[in-house]
Symmetry: C2
Subunit: 475 residues, 2 copies
């Protein structure tokens, strides 16, 4: 930043001293991403509303500065992390965490971009409502929109895009165009739905400053079971049959491989092995939920039991075993996997998806091919079988003696992504989005005509790529 | 069309004689829209696949011709109708009606753009599946995507956008760019989701040639009731309470005004008045559906009865009366309205939406203000209260003696739209899209910066507005 002090003084004069952080100690927490990404920022600026964001954009244009939007800094592809130049300005939405405006009869809520998912749900709970995108972290709503977060209950509730009924955006062009797309309507086909372009584009098309979200009745009951399919292939039959018999009640269908579960039992002893015999090759966590109470005549445990009984009947039945009613324990197991793999070794993590009809073939292929090429590697996969999402995480165990070098990790990643995209027509980023961590994959696997259009679009909204960390055009 | 014969001969040489229609008698059925729009076309060309669409685009560029995409020609805003110039070429997708490729385990179907909704559902039914966008007409899938069709079961299933997992598009630029966005993935955030731009843009951004749709389990049971709210205002309380108690089971919440119902009883005597006493000011058709069968322990009729009993308890209860279990009769009443209004008089039809929390205030305002201004006009409104959609149809009765002139109709439309958009922040096109019929409203009510961006986007995909009947930029 040329003449750093003068530009900062100008910014402080515009927005007040509380808006600007420039002390290196204060910056540290903003400069490093949750999993990837770590650099140095010129400063952090914290606007309170869209008008202040517009002032920041104009200030950045005047001084030729680059900007990065940052919510709760929980993203997993470094899209909100600065590079090493020390020139980028982080625009943090942490002072826009308070606006939560519920419209009970519309069943929608208007939120500031910085509002955290948990705060929103805390506010909705007394009204019997929730924003049902379910994930481990506590992101900001703006960040969730920029990543189009999916989560473990997508089967029932969809992703963020599906629940987004309005958006307020400030573009990073010279005018700092303020787009008010906040209708809050469920049915509106009165023109081009511009808000779609800011969903899942990693904050590189404009600053998201506020949103209108559809919210949902809080489930009044849940029924959970841990299923052991007869073979891995039977898992798809279980999915198909449960969808047909339980339909709109089916909320989660999460798969866990034996290797992944064993890691949890080993490194988190408080999670006990619920299986009587050996840990099965694959287990499925099934959850039904309903807004209707048992007093209304909907008894989810009975429904789930009845659906599972039909699946366990006969020698060739797809269901070998089912453990019912251990919701907390089952979700502890599921949510414990990611951390425990890190205790076991160096993790090469993947957030991929394929058509559900191809997911088992993909798994088989990867297990076999990876074992041949890198015998140390353990495939500890788990994921959202119900929506085709797979965290095909690979562990290079600490106790095998030889740690993997960077080149090997790179080879492994390329091997997996190449087969995934070219052979199985899957996605290299199911729910984490595109950021500096995986933008090379984006450039490698996106068809030339799509790259060209994406570049044109970005130039329209964000000329000179002044905002964000990703260039969606060809580099 | 300059040198018409030579250009047609060239087109026939490219695509074969069956592809081209130019006899005036053959053209007639393509030249007139269902409700609005009627003009003359240079010819109709009927491609069989995306490659042929590309050939048509290149041919049109060579000869400077304009193109219009047409599916089943059931749209309601004239977006698929030619103007009076006789210069436009209609590209009909009627020879792309056969590709229906079901992936049972992915619960998706790949369809050609010309496939009709009913053919698709006929094909899905034996598998226990359906494409649940529910409406009176039998449109093509490509047309449904271009209009982002909503329908009467949006509360449960969403609109077309929500069920679209892949798209194949041919742009109308000089290259006739072929965009293959057919992943069929439920979770995919590996770049800009370009397919969103072709949804709800009236076929003016590119030719939709194929799509991947998510399909759903066919409901195994339904429960229907006709509700009489204590007052019109109680209707919102009924909606809120039923959403909270029946949640994911609630599929439709359709409102019918007394004037609309009386029209049906008068002009379609086979639909009898189901109410014991007078026809109520407002009735609500409620429907629950479930993929779960009663043998699974889900009994929708019992659930609905129990939910309604709670709403009818006490003097101030929001529910005055409920007629259960007359599904066919209730839907006949609901679906009969639109036609019967035409028997009663000149209809000025509206397809509008507002936040649900504003819908009753909007109704009250319109009834009062319209009565003052145009005493002949009857407000015969009905619509999708559950999703904020309202067909605020106005009838100028045949039997009042004085038919309305064009200027009066125009005044009425402007009065309604102005109040709707400026005062109630609603949409002038909830589910019919934008076409020549209402593009003036689009230009009037869309903010200047949104118009500018929409125009930029259209230029990117469809330079010179060679394709389609709508210009989304400022004119």
């Amino acid at each position: 930043m040329v003449d750093r002090d003068a530009t900062l003084t100008e910014l402080i004069a515009l927005l007040g001293p509380k808006a600007v952080l420039s002390d290196p100690a204060e910056l540290a927490g903003y400069e490093r991403g949750t999993r990837y990404g770590s650099g140095r920022a010129a400063c952090v600026v914290r606007p309170r509303d869209a008008l202040e964001v517009q002032q920041i954009v104009r200030w950045a244009h005047k001084h030729g500065l680059r900007l990065i939007a940052q919510g709760a800094n929980t993203g997993l592809v470094a899209a909100a992390s600065p590079d090493d130049s020390g020139d980028q300005v982080i625009v943090s939405f942490e002072r826009m965490r308070h606006e939560i405006d519920l419209d009970v009869h519309n069943r929608t809520v208007r939120v500031g971009a910085g509002v955290l998912l948990q705060s929103l749900n805390d506010r909705l709970r007394p009204h019997g409502l929730c924003f049902p995108i379910d994930l481990g972290a506590n992101p900001s709503i703006g960040g969730m929109i920029a990543a189009n977060t999916g989560g473990a209950r997508l089967m029932k509730y969809g992703d963020v895009r599906r629940n987004l009924l309005g958006l307020e955006v400030v573009l990073a062009n010279e005018d700092a165009t303020h787009l008010e797309l906040m209708s809050g309507l469920r049915k509106d086909n009165s023109g081009v739905d511009l808000k779609q372009l800011f969903v899942g584009t990693s904050g590189a098309f404009g600053f998201i400053t506020a949103a209108v979200l559809e919210v949902h009745p809080l489930p009044r009951q849940r029924a959970t079971a841990l299923l052991v399919p007869r073979t891995a292939a039977s898992a798809m039959e279980l999915l198909r049959t449960l969808e047909m018999s339980c339909g709109e009640l089916l909320t989660s269908f999460e798969a866990m491989s034996r290797a992944a579960m064993e890691c949890v039992f080993r490194f988190r002893p408080q999670v006990r092995n619920p299986f009587d015999a050996d840990v099965p090759e694959l287990a499925i966590l099934v959850e039904l939920t309903s807004a209707a109470s048992t007093s209304m005549g909907v008894d989810l445990e009975r429904i789930l039991e009845s659906a599972l009984a039909a699946l366990a009947d006969g020698d060739e039945a797809p269901l070998a075993d089912a453990l019912l009613g251990r919701a907390e324990e089952s979700w502890q197991l599921r949510h414990g996997i990611s951390d425990c793999l890190r205790d076991a070794g160096t993790v090469i993590a993947f957030d991929i998806s394929v058509r559900r009809s191809a997911i088992l073939a993909l798994r088989d292929f990867m297990i076999q091919e990876l074992r041949q090429r890198w015998p140390h590697l353990q495939v500890c996969d788990f994921g959202h079988l119900g929506d085709g999402g797979l965290h095909l995480n690979l562990v290079w165990p600490h106790d095998c003696g030889v740690p993997p070098d960077a080149a090997t990790i790179q080879h492994v990643r390329e091997f997996v992504y190449d087969a995934l995209v070219r052979q199985f027509r899957g996605s290299f980023s199911a729910e984490h989005g595109v950021g500096p961590y995986n933008v090379a994959m984006y450039e490698r696997y996106t068809a030339a005509n799509r790259l060209a259009i994406a570049g044109d679009l970005q130039r329209l909204f964000n000329p000179d790529a002044r905002l964000g960390t990703v260039r969606f055009g060809s580099s």
